[in-house]
Symmetry: C2
Subunit: 145 residues, 2 copies
DNA sequence: GCACATATGTTATATTATAACAATTTATAT
DNA sequence: ATATAAATTGTTATAATATAACATATGTGC
């Protein structure tokens, strides 16, 4: 197991212990699969990988784990790819921002703690009560240009 | 037909004429269905509606029209809803921004011509070559709070 | 132990999207 | 006008993503 994966799992364990919620076996497996992927990974690729660690898992097992991990802020969904990545930020956040390379598929989290002013202004103008936000930037990463 | 739909169709007709590309019957129908919806509409709801205007249309007909309309910038896809809306801005743009009401489902386009500085800074720092971007703000619209 | 809440197993199905190839229509060039 | 190429549509099938529903099991507090 990559050291990075180990670290992510340890952090998740710690947070779950603190919050007194359960990082069960399937949840831990799914988290480690996502953490071990160099790129965002889709639910059915997670399932394939999970089938090497559990006996014949089914889609709901994966989706339930994903739902839990998202709720805890351990992973994010990349909407434009229908795929999942682990969170890079060191705190829980309701806004997500990513740079997605359209060539190699790699995704980098570009975390901002606050919604940029021009967008915040739009919400104020519309009297929109913000609860979460997601930004996906598409283009080419440094290595792919 | 709502006057708004008529206007959107007329604009699309005009642009297509200028660019010498074809707003064919199925494309026009799909555009008018999306324009006529008060909320983002999914491909299979478009298909259902389209079947009242054409004889037994199939999914590829809808998806091909969507692809065309997106390429021309007439419509946008709301990634978090798997659904489509017409563009509100008065010029072609590669960045999209929306406020999505999680209660009533209404979506408002919050167009910015440029990527906000904090995000632009992130791309520069990573030497990421930006080609397009999408922002989806979730929360409650003025009427739903 | 018992009641309750949480989590998992299992089967089936819903929803969203695309591949592949044939047929047709439209544009272009002789 | 006719041949040719390009763009568009028709059609069938299937891929890819996600959830509903209900039964079973496991953990938690009393
Ligand atoms: Zn994060
Ligand atoms: Zn890349
Ligand atoms: Zn727009
Ligand atoms: Zn609303």
């Amino acid at each position: 197991m990559k050291p990075n994966v180990k670290k992510i799992l340890a952090q998740a364990e710690h947070i779950c212990a603190q919050k007194d919620i359960r990082l069960t076996e399937s949840r831990r497996h799914v988290l480690s699969i996502i953490a071990g992927s160099s790129k965002p990974i889709g639910a059915y690729d997670i399932l394939k990988s999970l089938s090497q660690k559990m006996d014949n898992p089914k889609p709901p097992t994966v989706y339930r784990a994903i739902e839990f991990l998202q709720a805890q802020g351990f992973i994010h969904r990349i909407e434009s790819l229908n795929a999942y990545v682990t969170c890079d930020a060191h705190h829980h956040h309701t806004g997500s921002q990513f740079m997605v390379c359209d060539d190699c598929g790699k995704v980098t989290e570009a975390h901002l703690c606050d919604l940029p002013t021009p967008l915040l202004d739009k919400t104020k103008k519309e009297n929109f009560k913000l609860s979460s936000w997601n930004v996906e930037l598409h283009g080419l990463c440094a290595g792919c240009q």
